[in-house]
């Protein structure tokens, strides 16, 4: 039965690797300026983790095949070099791999989180609440009006709790249910939670960031391909969590201008 175990382990390892090697389950196509760094990191990690996975399973299988249920139980032998070799292998091979991955991986993270958006980035606010996203554009004055939680009213569609009567900056704010952005333009997305924890995830954009109640955060990104992409919530937020989504609409600058004009007329 040891031989059967060995064969099954090796077959499981091969079967597990096939869908990866043949790209049966590709990552969503990248449409962001920064995403290639994440994708490269993913590919590098896949090679190293895949090698470790296959090597470990094959060696386990081989040793079990060779030494299980021996008909002629010879003298016990010890792996040449013993524990020292194992420790050295783990520290040198895995240590190097881990350091390399760790250091290389910081580029992608740093690009996303340590560098501020450029000065001409376009500011948009998104607000998450059970179970919808809304988006707010500052309008011609370039300023988002202040939010007043007590003014929030779903019935009158005042999702952000704006008070245009008293706040001049709020008067020209444009509120939408879809995130329309121009292609190849850096976006500075301010994130506000109305009620609970939510998350903003666009697979194609390689952006995922939690909304933290009481803590307004910012992410920035540049979309490089026009199209319509799903924005989904990935932080468990209640019974409608599975259905909490919106769309990211990446358009040419002209299309965006026309889209914005239409949204202004709908306010």
């Amino acid at each position: 039965m040891g031989k059967l175990f060995a064969v099954v382990v090796v077959l499981i390892a091969i079967a597990s690797a096939i869908p990866i090697v043949l790209h049966w389950y590709p990552m969503a196509p990248d449409i962001s300026a920064h995403g290639h760094l994440i994708d490269e990191q993913m590919a590098d990690t896949m090679v190293e983790a895949g090698f470790a996975f296959l090597a470990a399973q094959f060696i386990l299988g081989f040793f079990v095949f060779r030494f299980a249920d021996r008909k002629d139980p010879g003298k016990i032998r010890t792996f040449p070099g013993g524990a020292k070799v194992m420790v050295a292998a783990a520290v040198i091979l895995v240590g190097t791999e881990v350091l390399a991955l760790g250091i290389l991986g910081q580029r992608a993270w740093a690009g996303q989180y340590f560098s501020p958006p450029s000065a001409d980035a376009m500011t948009i606010q998104t607000q998450a609440g059970q179970f919808a996203f809304y988006f707010r554009y500052p309008g011609p004055d370039g300023k988002l009006g202040p939010q007043h939680p007590d003014k929030v009213n779903e019935g009158t569609q005042n999702y952000f709790g704006l008070d245009p009567q008293n706040d001049v900056e709020s008067r020209d704010d444009v509120v939408t249910a879809e995130l329309g952005i121009p292609v190849n333009k850096e976006i500075r997305l301010l994130m506000h939670s109305k009620d609970l924890g939510h998350s903003f995830y666009v697979r194609e954009l390689r952006v995922q960031q939690d909304f933290v109640p009481g803590l307004d955060l910012m992410v920035h990104f540049t979309a490089t391909k026009p199209g319509r992409y799903e924005i989904v919530c990935t932080q468990l937020c209640g019974l409608g969590h599975y259905n909490m989504k919106a769309y990211l609409n990446v358009m040419s600058q002209e299309d965006f201008n026309a889209w914005m004009k239409q949204k202004i007329s709908e306010q």
């Binding site: 039965m1 175990f5 382990v9 079967a15 597990s16 389950y25 760094l37 994440i38 993913m42 990690t45 896949m46 190293e48 983790a49 996975f53 060696i59 386990l60 040793f63 079990v64 030494f67 021996r70 016990i76 032998r77 010890t78 013993g82 194992m86 292998a89 783990a90 520290v91 881990v98 991986g105 910081q106 580029r107 992608a108 993270w109 996303q112 340590f114 059970q130 929030v152 009213n153 019935g155 709790g161 009620d195 609970l196 924890g197 995830y201 390689r206 995922q208 939690d210 933290v212 109640p213 009481g214 803590l215 799903e230 989904v232 990935t234 468990l236 937020c237 209640g238 019974l239 989504k245």
Partner: protein, 595 residues
Amino acid sequence: MSDVDSTHAVAHHAPPQGFIRKHIFSLDHKVIGLQYYGLGLVAVFIAIFLSWLMRIHLVWPNSRIPGLHLLSSAGAPGDVMTPEYYLSILTMHGTLMVFFVLTNAPFAAFGNYFLPIQIGAEDMAFPRFNMMSFWTTFVAFCVLISAFFIPDGPPISGWTAYAPLSAVGGAAGPGLAYGQTLWAISIGIFCIASLLGALNFIATTLDLRAKGMTMMRMPLCTWAWFITSCIALLAFAVLLPACVLLCLDRLAGTSFFISSGLVINDQVLPHSGGSTLLWQHMFWFFGHPEVYIAILPAAGIVSHILINSLRRPLLSHKVVIGSMLAIAFLSYVVWGHHMFISGMNPFSSLAFSFPTLIITIPATILTLIWVGSIYGSRLRITSASLFALGFISLFVSGGVSGFFLAQPSIDIYLHATYFVVGHFHLVMGVAAVFGIFAGTYFWFPKMTGHMMNETLGKIHFWGTFIGAYCIFMPFHYLGMIGNVRRYSTFVDDYLQPYLGVHKFITFAALTTGAFQLIFLVNLIYSRFKGPKAPVNPWECTSLEWTVPSPPPWDNFGGVHPVVYHDPYQYGIESSTGDYVMQTDPANIVVERDEK
């Protein structure tokens, strides 16, 4: 060694009299161990049943599950599960599995039963505390399960109970009024029980070792239980106040986890000044060590069984202990890797990423020592050793996906996807469960006095081993395409082509779950009809195999065992075979690779 207490063998308690003191409120660590095991068994079958319900609902969301309305008329009107009841079941599945199965079975159950015997003690250091630990855990279990039977049902916030969803009360959704309170109280009680248990394990290991049983002569599973109890002592000590604060937020109107200006149903909540991230930090400060509370005892049990099956010691006893200690230490400095995209300072993500990556080094050392020790051995294949070998395979498979998730940049894409679900199920769930199964097949003869059926055991192994891979490998692939977890149905367009994969997983889960019934049948049948177990059926060297099967109430029948050897004297020539018991005074010289 002078640190061995030779006066330990005083009777801690008299022989139990009567049914209640023998089997229910027993002070005997062996009975308490079996009680923990029984509770884990009940919990695991409930949790498997819940996972079946989840898997069926995921691929056939509108299907009727006959009789489901009996469980909850609101959650399953007309026997069709609602999306919110899916979340209730998800919460209960995770909570039962993590706390009442993965913490209870490999650590509290086997540890209670075998730690005192393996070190030559008559009982735990504090038998009354020990009894209290179990019955407190039992109360925690009852409080948690009672959430099924209250009108608003179990909470829908997942086993991580992220605030403020878990803190703001019933306004945020079903299960969040009374169900969530019961959850927080249950876990708080569980923490108290675990703290008592951990203290007891530590005191027993340090104080009650038999003459000659130095620390380095303890078997690897005893080491694992000892290290785990140190982890548990520090981890549950943080989860307990977290649960207390959560209860205060819910019941007393405090605002530890709720910030100001939150609006639900157009009403501004009367809270201010709390921090959402505080809950996450406290929870994961416990939550990450908890992973090792589940996996280290399994690693110890597997080491113990593997050595016995290989008929040789591992390449190094000390390196295995050192690796487990390193993992235990590192487990406290990596909790932030659960929070890369939570909104905490992005610099701290890097600080948490490096130790997370470094933890792969001791984990790799452990794996290489196990695998390298198979070389040149005389591996005996039994149900127990098959599960031990399966554990190694799963530990590797679940471990390598950690490479991805340990890196914040990749986590941006994979966080909250099925990749994470596949990762933690393989490494912390299934691998730890394989440790439990290996321990069961190995120690059942000692615990009950009967042998288990090996044929059924091997059928159970093959079904579970192949089944586990069929369920959890595809989870990784679904994560690669960005399939988000904790969704009760997949309404997103891009997921439609992959529903076939989900159906495959559901079939695999139903089949693998059914294979567990073979295990249950084997347990019950062998308990009553299995052949009588000899004292030492596996030709094992440690102390539990020197006493009758099952051992008498005081373990060693009033005799004080004396230990002469390191725990694993296999692969030598002696009058008894290829091994020498730890208590055998035979003067042997065993060649070791490292000293």
